[in-house]
Amino acid sequence: MEKKEKTIDIIKQERKVSPQVLEDRKTYSRNRKAIMEALKAGPKTIPQVAAETQLSLPDATYFMMALFKFGDVVVESLDDMDEYYFYELKKK
Protein backbone atom coordinates (compact mmCIF):
# COMPACT_ATOMS: atom_id res chain seq x y z
CA MET A 1 0.00 0.00 0.00
CA GLU A 2 1.34 3.39 -0.98
CA LYS A 3 2.22 5.55 2.03
CA LYS A 4 0.83 9.07 1.91
CA GLU A 5 1.32 12.19 3.97
CA LYS A 6 -0.72 12.38 7.19
CA THR A 7 -3.64 14.70 6.69
CA ILE A 8 -4.51 15.23 10.37
CA ASP A 9 -1.94 18.03 10.63
CA ILE A 10 -3.63 19.90 7.81
CA ILE A 11 -7.11 19.88 9.38
CA LYS A 12 -5.66 20.80 12.77
CA GLN A 13 -4.63 24.13 11.27
CA GLU A 14 -8.18 24.78 10.07
CA ARG A 15 -10.36 23.48 12.92
CA LYS A 16 -10.45 23.75 16.68
CA VAL A 17 -11.83 20.93 18.83
CA SER A 18 -14.77 22.07 20.95
CA PRO A 19 -14.30 22.01 24.75
CA GLN A 20 -17.42 19.80 24.99
CA VAL A 21 -15.80 17.09 22.85
CA LEU A 22 -12.72 17.12 25.08
CA GLU A 23 -14.88 16.99 28.21
CA ASP A 24 -16.94 14.08 26.80
CA ARG A 25 -13.75 12.23 25.96
CA LYS A 26 -12.52 12.64 29.55
CA THR A 27 -15.88 11.45 30.92
CA TYR A 28 -15.82 8.36 28.73
CA SER A 29 -12.23 7.58 29.61
CA ARG A 30 -12.89 8.00 33.35
CA ASN A 31 -16.10 5.93 33.32
CA ARG A 32 -14.60 3.22 31.14
CA LYS A 33 -11.69 2.87 33.53
CA ALA A 34 -14.01 2.78 36.57
CA ILE A 35 -16.26 0.09 35.06
CA MET A 36 -13.33 -2.03 33.87
CA GLU A 37 -11.78 -1.72 37.34
CA ALA A 38 -15.05 -2.77 39.00
CA LEU A 39 -15.30 -5.82 36.75
CA LYS A 40 -11.73 -6.95 37.45
CA ALA A 41 -12.95 -8.63 40.66
CA GLY A 42 -15.52 -10.66 38.73
CA PRO A 43 -18.87 -10.43 36.93
CA LYS A 44 -21.30 -7.76 38.12
CA THR A 45 -24.77 -6.47 37.28
CA ILE A 46 -25.31 -2.86 36.22
CA PRO A 47 -26.72 -1.81 39.65
CA GLN A 48 -23.70 -3.42 41.34
CA VAL A 49 -21.33 -1.57 39.01
CA ALA A 50 -23.23 1.69 39.59
CA ALA A 51 -22.94 1.27 43.36
CA GLU A 52 -19.22 0.57 43.17
CA THR A 53 -18.33 3.32 40.70
CA GLN A 54 -20.72 5.99 42.05
CA LEU A 55 -22.14 6.36 38.54
CA SER A 56 -25.87 6.99 38.24
CA LEU A 57 -27.83 3.92 37.09
CA PRO A 58 -28.63 5.39 33.63
CA ASP A 59 -24.98 6.39 33.14
CA ALA A 60 -23.76 2.97 34.27
CA THR A 61 -26.19 1.38 31.79
CA TYR A 62 -25.14 3.67 28.93
CA PHE A 63 -21.39 3.19 29.43
CA MET A 64 -21.71 -0.55 30.13
CA MET A 65 -23.65 -0.98 26.90
CA ALA A 66 -21.05 1.10 25.05
CA LEU A 67 -18.30 -1.19 26.39
CA PHE A 68 -20.44 -4.20 25.40
CA LYS A 69 -20.77 -2.80 21.88
CA PHE A 70 -17.07 -2.05 21.57
CA GLY A 71 -16.18 -5.57 22.71
CA ASP A 72 -14.63 -4.71 26.10
CA VAL A 73 -17.24 -6.58 28.16
CA VAL A 74 -19.41 -9.63 27.54
CA VAL A 75 -22.50 -11.13 29.15
CA GLU A 76 -21.70 -13.74 31.77
CA SER A 77 -25.12 -14.94 33.02
CA LEU A 78 -28.53 -13.87 34.30
CA ASP A 79 -29.15 -13.37 38.02
CA ASP A 80 -31.36 -15.73 40.06
CA MET A 81 -34.37 -13.40 39.78
CA ASP A 82 -34.07 -13.23 35.97
CA GLU A 83 -33.86 -9.44 36.27
CA TYR A 84 -30.29 -8.36 35.61
CA TYR A 85 -27.44 -9.71 33.55
CA PHE A 86 -23.95 -10.14 34.94
CA TYR A 87 -21.25 -8.62 32.75
CA GLU A 88 -17.59 -9.52 32.79
CA LEU A 89 -14.42 -8.35 31.09
CA LYS A 90 -13.78 -9.94 27.75
CA LYS A 91 -10.85 -12.31 27.93
CA LYS A 92 -8.28 -11.08 25.43
Partner: protein, 440 residues
Protein backbone atom coordinates in the same frame (compact mmCIF):
# COMPACT_ATOMS: atom_id res chain seq x y z
CA UNK B 1 -22.37 1.71 -9.20
CA UNK B 2 -21.06 3.13 -5.92
CA UNK B 3 -20.15 6.65 -4.89
CA UNK B 4 -16.54 5.73 -5.40
CA UNK B 5 -16.95 5.10 -9.06
CA UNK B 6 -18.60 8.39 -9.80
CA UNK B 7 -17.69 10.86 -7.04
CA UNK B 8 -15.87 13.15 -9.37
CA UNK B 9 -18.85 13.47 -11.70
CA UNK B 10 -16.72 15.17 -14.27
CA UNK B 11 -17.55 13.56 -17.59
CA UNK B 12 -20.83 14.06 -19.41
CA UNK B 13 -22.08 10.56 -18.62
CA UNK B 14 -21.95 11.27 -14.92
CA UNK B 15 -23.78 14.58 -15.01
CA UNK B 16 -26.73 13.80 -17.26
CA UNK B 17 -29.50 11.53 -16.06
CA UNK B 18 -32.96 10.50 -17.16
CA UNK B 19 -34.24 10.55 -13.61
CA UNK B 20 -33.06 11.92 -10.29
CA UNK B 21 -34.60 10.13 -7.31
CA UNK B 22 -34.41 12.12 -4.08
CA UNK B 23 -34.24 9.82 -1.08
CA UNK B 24 -32.83 6.29 -1.04
CA UNK B 25 -35.23 4.72 1.41
CA UNK B 26 -37.27 1.76 0.32
CA UNK B 27 -39.50 3.89 -1.96
CA UNK B 28 -36.62 5.67 -3.66
CA UNK B 29 -34.59 2.48 -4.07
CA UNK B 30 -37.58 0.62 -5.51
CA UNK B 31 -38.35 3.42 -8.01
CA UNK B 32 -34.67 3.63 -8.99
CA UNK B 33 -34.43 -0.13 -9.46
CA UNK B 34 -37.57 -0.30 -11.61
CA UNK B 35 -36.36 2.57 -13.82
CA UNK B 36 -32.82 1.20 -13.96
CA UNK B 37 -34.21 -2.14 -15.12
CA UNK B 38 -36.12 -0.31 -17.88
CA UNK B 39 -32.79 1.06 -19.10
CA UNK B 40 -33.01 4.61 -17.80
CA UNK B 41 -30.00 6.32 -16.27
CA UNK B 42 -30.90 7.06 -12.65
CA UNK B 43 -29.24 9.26 -10.05
CA UNK B 44 -30.18 8.33 -6.48
CA UNK B 45 -29.45 11.05 -3.92
CA UNK B 46 -29.36 10.28 -0.19
CA UNK B 47 -28.52 12.68 2.63
CA UNK B 48 -27.58 9.91 5.09
CA UNK B 49 -24.31 7.93 4.87
CA UNK B 50 -26.20 4.71 3.99
CA UNK B 51 -29.08 3.90 1.69
CA UNK B 52 -32.05 1.86 2.96
CA UNK B 53 -33.93 4.59 4.85
CA UNK B 54 -35.87 3.67 7.96
CA UNK B 55 -36.85 0.17 6.83
CA UNK B 56 -33.28 -1.12 7.04
CA UNK B 57 -33.35 -0.25 10.75
CA UNK B 58 -36.52 -2.22 11.55
CA UNK B 59 -36.57 -5.56 13.36
CA UNK B 60 -39.29 -7.45 11.49
CA UNK B 61 -42.25 -6.50 9.31
CA UNK B 62 -45.96 -7.10 9.84
CA UNK B 63 -48.01 -9.20 9.32
CA UNK B 64 -45.58 -11.85 8.11
CA UNK B 65 -42.88 -11.27 10.77
CA UNK B 66 -40.24 -11.55 8.06
CA UNK B 67 -36.84 -10.12 9.00
CA UNK B 68 -36.79 -6.52 7.71
CA UNK B 69 -33.04 -6.58 7.05
CA UNK B 70 -33.42 -9.81 5.05
CA UNK B 71 -35.89 -8.06 2.74
CA UNK B 72 -34.12 -4.72 2.58
CA UNK B 73 -30.47 -5.68 2.20
CA UNK B 74 -30.81 -7.63 -1.08
CA UNK B 75 -32.80 -4.73 -2.55
CA UNK B 76 -30.30 -2.18 -1.30
CA UNK B 77 -27.42 -4.28 -2.58
CA UNK B 78 -29.08 -4.67 -6.00
CA UNK B 79 -29.59 -0.89 -6.12
CA UNK B 80 -25.94 -0.20 -5.23
CA UNK B 81 -24.64 -2.61 -7.88
CA UNK B 82 -27.05 -1.67 -10.66
CA UNK B 83 -25.15 -0.47 -13.76
CA UNK B 84 -27.81 2.17 -14.54
CA UNK B 85 -27.97 3.63 -11.04
CA UNK B 86 -25.51 6.17 -9.67
CA UNK B 87 -25.70 6.79 -5.93
CA UNK B 88 -24.56 9.83 -3.99
CA UNK B 89 -24.75 9.40 -0.20
CA UNK B 90 -24.18 12.23 2.29
CA UNK B 91 -25.59 14.43 -0.45
CA UNK B 92 -28.43 16.94 -0.38
CA UNK B 93 -30.24 18.61 -3.22
CA UNK B 94 -29.73 22.36 -2.96
CA UNK B 95 -31.64 23.65 -5.98
CA UNK B 96 -33.74 22.30 -8.83
CA UNK B 97 -34.44 24.63 -11.73
CA UNK B 98 -36.32 23.82 -14.91
CA UNK B 99 -34.49 24.73 -18.12
CA UNK B 100 -36.02 25.91 -21.39
CA UNK B 101 -35.62 22.36 -22.78
CA UNK B 102 -37.87 21.10 -19.90
CA UNK B 103 -34.93 19.30 -18.30
CA UNK B 104 -33.94 20.11 -14.73
CA UNK B 105 -30.65 21.68 -13.64
CA UNK B 106 -29.79 20.40 -10.20
CA UNK B 107 -27.20 21.56 -7.72
CA UNK B 108 -26.07 18.97 -5.17
CA UNK B 109 -24.07 19.41 -2.00
CA UNK B 110 -21.96 16.37 -1.15
CA UNK B 111 -20.58 16.37 2.39
CA UNK B 112 -17.11 15.01 3.10
CA UNK B 113 -16.75 11.55 4.62
CA UNK B 114 -13.06 12.15 5.42
CA UNK B 115 -12.54 8.62 4.14
CA UNK B 116 -11.51 7.71 0.59
CA UNK B 117 -14.49 5.55 -0.29
CA UNK B 118 -12.83 3.35 -2.86
CA UNK B 119 -10.04 2.42 -0.44
CA UNK B 120 -12.06 1.71 2.73
CA UNK B 121 -12.52 -2.00 3.38
CA UNK B 122 -14.84 -1.58 6.37
CA UNK B 123 -12.32 -3.29 8.66
CA UNK B 124 -13.20 -0.99 11.60
CA UNK B 125 -9.59 -0.67 12.76
CA UNK B 126 -10.20 3.10 12.90
CA UNK B 127 -13.19 2.57 15.21
CA UNK B 128 -11.16 0.38 17.53
CA UNK B 129 -8.58 3.09 18.18
CA UNK B 130 -10.88 6.12 18.24
CA UNK B 131 -10.94 7.47 21.82
CA UNK B 132 -14.14 9.54 21.48
CA UNK B 133 -17.72 8.36 21.88
CA UNK B 134 -20.97 10.10 21.17
CA UNK B 135 -24.61 9.03 21.01
CA UNK B 136 -25.38 6.60 18.20
CA UNK B 137 -28.15 8.17 16.10
CA UNK B 138 -28.74 4.89 14.26
CA UNK B 139 -29.54 3.24 17.62
CA UNK B 140 -31.75 6.25 18.47
CA UNK B 141 -29.34 7.33 21.24
CA UNK B 142 -29.70 4.12 23.28
CA UNK B 143 -25.98 3.46 23.05
CA UNK B 144 -22.79 5.11 21.83
CA UNK B 145 -20.67 5.09 18.72
CA UNK B 146 -17.16 6.31 18.00
CA UNK B 147 -16.42 9.59 16.21
CA UNK B 148 -15.19 7.53 13.26
CA UNK B 149 -17.75 4.87 12.54
CA UNK B 150 -19.62 2.64 10.16
CA UNK B 151 -23.27 3.68 10.57
CA UNK B 152 -24.55 0.16 11.25
CA UNK B 153 -23.59 -3.41 10.38
CA UNK B 154 -25.70 -3.69 7.25
CA UNK B 155 -25.07 -0.14 6.02
CA UNK B 156 -24.59 0.27 2.29
CA UNK B 157 -21.99 1.40 1.42
CA UNK B 158 -20.36 -0.33 4.40
CA UNK B 159 -17.55 2.15 4.76
CA UNK B 160 -16.47 4.44 7.56
CA UNK B 161 -17.07 8.15 7.96
CA UNK B 162 -15.82 10.71 10.45
CA UNK B 163 -18.19 12.80 12.52
CA UNK B 164 -15.96 15.84 12.40
CA UNK B 165 -18.02 17.78 14.96
CA UNK B 166 -17.26 15.12 17.58
CA UNK B 167 -13.72 14.32 16.44
CA UNK B 168 -10.86 15.40 18.75
CA UNK B 169 -8.40 15.41 15.82
CA UNK B 170 -6.00 13.01 17.51
CA UNK B 171 -5.13 11.30 14.25
CA UNK B 172 -5.29 7.80 15.77
CA UNK B 173 -7.63 6.58 12.99
CA UNK B 174 -5.29 7.79 10.27
CA UNK B 175 -2.37 6.06 11.97
CA UNK B 176 -4.27 2.78 12.40
CA UNK B 177 -5.93 2.56 8.97
CA UNK B 178 -4.28 -0.30 7.09
CA UNK B 179 -5.41 1.01 3.71
CA UNK B 180 -4.46 4.67 4.29
CA UNK B 181 -7.95 5.80 3.42
CA UNK B 182 -8.47 8.48 6.09
CA UNK B 183 -8.32 11.88 4.41
CA UNK B 184 -8.93 14.96 6.55
CA UNK B 185 -8.42 17.24 3.56
CA UNK B 186 -11.77 16.33 2.01
CA UNK B 187 -14.15 19.28 1.54
CA UNK B 188 -17.79 19.76 0.66
CA UNK B 189 -18.36 19.36 -3.07
CA UNK B 190 -20.88 21.25 -5.19
CA UNK B 191 -22.03 18.99 -8.02
CA UNK B 192 -24.05 20.19 -10.98
CA UNK B 193 -26.16 17.66 -12.86
CA UNK B 194 -29.12 17.66 -15.23
CA UNK B 195 -32.08 15.28 -15.13
CA UNK B 196 -35.07 14.92 -17.42
CA UNK B 197 -37.37 14.07 -14.52
CA UNK B 198 -37.43 13.94 -10.72
CA UNK B 199 -38.96 11.53 -8.22
CA UNK B 200 -39.48 12.86 -4.71
CA UNK B 201 -39.11 9.96 -2.27
CA UNK B 202 -38.17 11.91 0.82
CA UNK B 203 -40.24 9.81 3.23
CA UNK B 204 -41.51 10.94 6.60
CA UNK B 205 -40.26 12.24 9.91
CA UNK B 206 -41.01 10.50 13.18
CA UNK B 207 -42.96 12.50 15.75
CA UNK B 208 -40.73 13.65 18.62
CA UNK B 209 -42.74 12.99 21.81
CA UNK B 210 -40.65 15.39 23.86
CA UNK B 211 -43.31 17.98 23.03
CA UNK B 212 -45.96 16.00 24.98
CA UNK B 213 -44.63 16.83 28.43
CA UNK B 214 -47.16 14.74 30.33
CA UNK B 215 -45.66 11.54 28.90
CA UNK B 216 -42.25 12.36 30.36
CA UNK B 217 -40.22 11.35 27.32
CA UNK B 218 -36.69 12.71 27.68
CA UNK B 219 -37.11 12.98 31.48
CA UNK B 220 -38.02 9.39 32.35
CA UNK B 221 -35.39 6.98 31.03
CA UNK B 222 -37.85 4.07 30.76
CA UNK B 223 -40.24 5.96 28.49
CA UNK B 224 -38.94 5.18 25.02
CA UNK B 225 -40.27 5.52 21.48
CA UNK B 226 -41.44 2.66 19.30
CA UNK B 227 -38.40 3.18 17.07
CA UNK B 228 -36.12 2.71 20.08
CA UNK B 229 -37.99 -0.51 20.92
CA UNK B 230 -37.67 -1.50 17.26
CA UNK B 231 -33.89 -1.25 17.67
CA UNK B 232 -33.99 -3.20 20.95
CA UNK B 233 -35.74 -6.00 19.07
CA UNK B 234 -33.53 -5.96 15.98
CA UNK B 235 -30.69 -8.47 15.46
CA UNK B 236 -28.25 -5.52 15.39
CA UNK B 237 -29.64 -4.21 18.67
CA UNK B 238 -27.90 -1.80 21.04
CA UNK B 239 -28.14 -4.06 24.12
CA UNK B 240 -27.69 -7.79 24.66
CA UNK B 241 -31.46 -8.20 25.14
CA UNK B 242 -34.52 -6.01 25.61
CA UNK B 243 -33.48 -3.94 28.65
CA UNK B 244 -34.55 -0.81 30.49
CA UNK B 245 -32.30 2.13 29.64
CA UNK B 246 -32.45 3.31 33.28
CA UNK B 247 -30.75 0.33 34.90
CA UNK B 248 -30.34 -2.58 32.46
CA UNK B 249 -33.22 -4.54 34.01
CA UNK B 250 -35.23 -6.95 31.89
CA UNK B 251 -38.70 -5.39 31.82
CA UNK B 252 -41.66 -7.55 32.73
CA UNK B 253 -44.57 -5.11 32.50
CA UNK B 254 -44.44 -3.13 29.27
CA UNK B 255 -47.08 -0.62 28.16
CA UNK B 256 -47.68 0.83 24.70
CA UNK B 257 -49.31 4.23 24.27
CA UNK B 258 -50.95 4.36 20.85
CA UNK B 259 -51.55 7.51 18.81
CA UNK B 260 -48.61 9.44 20.33
CA UNK B 261 -48.43 12.44 18.04
CA UNK B 262 -51.07 11.32 15.59
CA UNK B 263 -54.85 11.90 15.51
CA UNK B 264 -54.01 14.80 17.79
CA UNK B 265 -54.84 18.40 16.86
CA UNK B 266 -52.91 19.70 19.89
CA UNK B 267 -49.61 18.60 18.34
CA UNK B 268 -50.58 19.68 14.83
CA UNK B 269 -51.01 16.19 13.38
CA UNK B 270 -54.72 15.43 13.12
CA UNK B 271 -54.44 12.38 10.87
CA UNK B 272 -53.97 8.68 11.58
CA UNK B 273 -50.43 7.47 10.95
CA UNK B 274 -51.75 4.18 9.53
CA UNK B 275 -48.93 1.96 10.78
CA UNK B 276 -48.72 2.51 14.56
CA UNK B 277 -51.43 0.00 15.57
CA UNK B 278 -49.80 -2.71 13.53
CA UNK B 279 -46.15 -2.04 14.35
CA UNK B 280 -47.09 -1.96 18.05
CA UNK B 281 -48.93 -5.25 17.63
CA UNK B 282 -45.88 -6.66 15.86
CA UNK B 283 -43.58 -5.50 18.65
CA UNK B 284 -45.96 -6.99 21.25
CA UNK B 285 -45.71 -10.36 19.50
CA UNK B 286 -41.92 -10.11 19.28
CA UNK B 287 -41.67 -9.11 22.95
CA UNK B 288 -43.81 -12.06 23.99
CA UNK B 289 -41.30 -14.23 22.12
CA UNK B 290 -38.19 -12.52 23.52
CA UNK B 291 -39.53 -12.13 27.08
CA UNK B 292 -42.03 -14.98 27.61
CA UNK B 293 -42.84 -13.90 31.19
CA UNK B 294 -43.56 -10.26 30.28
CA UNK B 295 -47.02 -8.69 30.46
CA UNK B 296 -47.68 -6.46 27.46
CA UNK B 297 -50.50 -3.90 27.70
CA UNK B 298 -51.47 -1.78 24.73
CA UNK B 299 -53.50 1.37 25.41
CA UNK B 300 -55.45 2.31 22.29
CA UNK B 301 -58.25 4.57 21.12
CA UNK B 302 -59.26 2.53 18.04
CA UNK B 303 -57.50 -0.37 16.38
CA UNK B 304 -56.93 0.19 12.68
CA UNK B 305 -56.07 -3.17 11.13
CA UNK B 306 -57.06 -2.44 7.56
CA UNK B 307 -54.53 -4.32 5.39
CA UNK B 308 -54.36 -7.87 4.12
CA UNK B 309 -53.91 -10.21 7.07
CA UNK B 310 -53.76 -7.32 9.55
CA UNK B 311 -56.90 -8.10 11.56
CA UNK B 312 -55.84 -11.73 11.88
CA UNK B 313 -52.42 -10.51 13.05
CA UNK B 314 -54.09 -8.36 15.71
CA UNK B 315 -56.29 -11.26 16.86
CA UNK B 316 -53.21 -13.48 16.97
CA UNK B 317 -51.50 -11.01 19.33
CA UNK B 318 -54.57 -11.07 21.58
CA UNK B 319 -54.57 -14.87 21.55
CA UNK B 320 -50.90 -14.85 22.52
CA UNK B 321 -51.79 -12.81 25.62
CA UNK B 322 -51.36 -9.17 24.65
CA UNK B 323 -53.67 -7.07 26.81
CA UNK B 324 -55.43 -4.42 24.69
CA UNK B 325 -56.92 -1.67 26.87
CA UNK B 326 -59.28 0.85 25.29
CA UNK B 327 -57.98 3.80 27.22
CA UNK B 328 -56.63 7.29 26.81
CA UNK B 329 -53.47 8.14 28.75
CA UNK B 330 -53.68 11.34 30.79
CA UNK B 331 -50.28 11.34 32.44
CA UNK B 332 -47.22 9.24 33.14
CA UNK B 333 -45.28 9.65 36.39
CA UNK B 334 -42.05 7.99 37.48
CA UNK B 335 -41.41 6.16 40.74
CA UNK B 336 -38.06 6.14 42.48
CA UNK B 337 -37.24 2.65 41.17
CA UNK B 338 -37.77 3.78 37.57
CA UNK B 339 -41.21 2.18 37.27
CA UNK B 340 -43.92 4.26 35.64
CA UNK B 341 -47.49 4.96 36.71
CA UNK B 342 -49.92 5.38 33.84
CA UNK B 343 -53.02 7.39 34.64
CA UNK B 344 -55.67 6.72 32.04
CA UNK B 345 -59.35 6.87 31.28
CA UNK B 346 -60.79 3.43 30.64
CA UNK B 347 -63.01 4.34 27.68
CA UNK B 348 -65.32 1.33 28.15
CA UNK B 349 -66.13 2.01 31.82
CA UNK B 350 -65.49 5.76 31.88
CA UNK B 351 -63.34 5.36 35.00
CA UNK B 352 -59.98 7.00 35.58
CA UNK B 353 -57.52 4.30 36.60
CA UNK B 354 -53.81 4.01 37.38
CA UNK B 355 -51.53 1.11 36.53
CA UNK B 356 -47.82 0.49 37.14
CA UNK B 357 -45.46 -0.64 34.37
CA UNK B 358 -41.70 -0.87 34.31
CA UNK B 359 -41.30 0.38 30.76
CA UNK B 360 -43.50 2.50 28.47
CA UNK B 361 -43.25 2.56 24.67
CA UNK B 362 -44.76 5.56 22.90
CA UNK B 363 -46.17 4.49 19.53
CA UNK B 364 -45.10 7.63 17.72
CA UNK B 365 -46.81 8.85 14.59
CA UNK B 366 -45.50 9.82 11.19
CA UNK B 367 -45.10 13.45 10.14
CA UNK B 368 -44.69 15.07 6.75
CA UNK B 369 -41.20 15.99 5.60
CA UNK B 370 -41.89 19.10 3.49
CA UNK B 371 -38.36 20.59 3.32
CA UNK B 372 -37.94 19.42 -0.27
CA UNK B 373 -40.34 22.10 -1.53
CA UNK B 374 -37.70 24.76 -0.82
CA UNK B 375 -35.26 23.41 -3.43
CA UNK B 376 -37.56 24.03 -6.41
CA UNK B 377 -36.68 27.42 -7.89
CA UNK B 378 -39.04 29.35 -10.13
CA UNK B 379 -41.98 27.01 -9.49
CA UNK B 380 -43.75 25.54 -6.51
CA UNK B 381 -44.23 21.93 -5.51
CA UNK B 382 -47.69 22.04 -3.93
CA UNK B 383 -48.37 20.37 -0.59
CA UNK B 384 -51.66 19.09 0.85
CA UNK B 385 -53.10 20.62 4.05
CA UNK B 386 -51.07 18.17 6.19
CA UNK B 387 -47.83 19.18 4.38
CA UNK B 388 -47.40 15.97 2.38
CA UNK B 389 -46.72 16.28 -1.36
CA UNK B 390 -50.03 16.98 -3.04
CA UNK B 391 -51.38 14.37 -5.46
CA UNK B 392 -53.66 16.38 -7.80
CA UNK B 393 -54.81 13.25 -9.60
CA UNK B 394 -54.64 10.68 -6.82
CA UNK B 395 -57.01 8.10 -8.29
CA UNK B 396 -55.80 8.02 -11.89
CA UNK B 397 -52.19 9.09 -11.55
CA UNK B 398 -51.10 8.74 -7.91
CA UNK B 399 -47.44 9.67 -8.54
CA UNK B 400 -48.28 12.91 -10.36
CA UNK B 401 -47.47 16.16 -8.53
CA UNK B 402 -48.31 19.80 -9.24
CA UNK B 403 -45.13 20.04 -11.38
CA UNK B 404 -44.75 18.45 -14.78
CA UNK B 405 -41.92 15.91 -14.79
CA UNK B 406 -41.79 15.72 -11.00
CA UNK B 407 -43.28 12.58 -9.45
CA UNK B 408 -43.72 11.37 -5.89
CA UNK B 409 -43.28 7.97 -4.27
CA UNK B 410 -43.95 6.40 -0.88
CA UNK B 411 -44.60 8.21 2.38
CA UNK B 412 -43.76 11.60 0.89
CA UNK B 413 -47.47 11.48 -0.12
CA UNK B 414 -48.77 10.50 3.31
CA UNK B 415 -48.46 7.76 5.93
CA UNK B 416 -48.47 4.25 4.47
CA UNK B 417 -47.17 0.77 5.25
CA UNK B 418 -44.36 -1.03 3.45
CA UNK B 419 -46.48 -2.94 0.87
CA UNK B 420 -48.24 0.30 -0.11
CA UNK B 421 -44.88 2.09 -0.27
CA UNK B 422 -43.53 -0.52 -2.69
CA UNK B 423 -46.66 -0.19 -4.85
CA UNK B 424 -46.44 3.60 -4.77
CA UNK B 425 -42.78 3.42 -5.83
CA UNK B 426 -43.73 1.12 -8.71
CA UNK B 427 -46.42 3.56 -9.78
CA UNK B 428 -43.93 6.45 -9.68
CA UNK B 429 -41.48 4.49 -11.84
CA UNK B 430 -44.18 3.65 -14.37
CA UNK B 431 -45.48 7.21 -14.59
CA UNK B 432 -41.93 8.56 -14.89
CA UNK B 433 -41.16 6.12 -17.68
CA UNK B 434 -44.34 7.13 -19.50
CA UNK B 435 -43.39 10.82 -19.12
CA UNK B 436 -39.86 10.21 -20.42
CA UNK B 437 -41.26 8.43 -23.49
CA UNK B 438 -43.56 11.39 -24.20
CA UNK B 439 -40.64 13.77 -23.72
CA UNK B 440 -38.35 12.06 -26.22
Amino acid sequence: MTDNQNAAATCLDETQFDVMVIGAGIAGAESALKLGDMGYKVLLVEKEPSIGGKMILLSKVFPTLDCAACITTPKVSETARHPNITIHTLTEVETIQRNSDRHFSVQLNKKPRYVVEKDCTGCQECENVCPVITKDQFQFNLTARKAVYIPFNIANPRIALIDIENCMLCGACEKACPSNCIDFTQKEQQLQITAKSVIVATGFKLFDPISIERYGYGRYKNVITSMQMERELAPTRPFNNVLRPSDGKIPDKIAYVFCTGSRDHTVGNPICSQVCCMYSTKQAQLLMGALPMADISLYYINIRAFGKGYNEFYLQAKDMGANYVKGKIGKITEKENGNLILRFEDILTGKVTEKEHDMVVLSVGLLANPAITKVFKGEKLELDPINYVQQPNMLQSPAQTSLEGVFVAGTATGPMDIPDTIMSAGAAATETSSYLKRLS
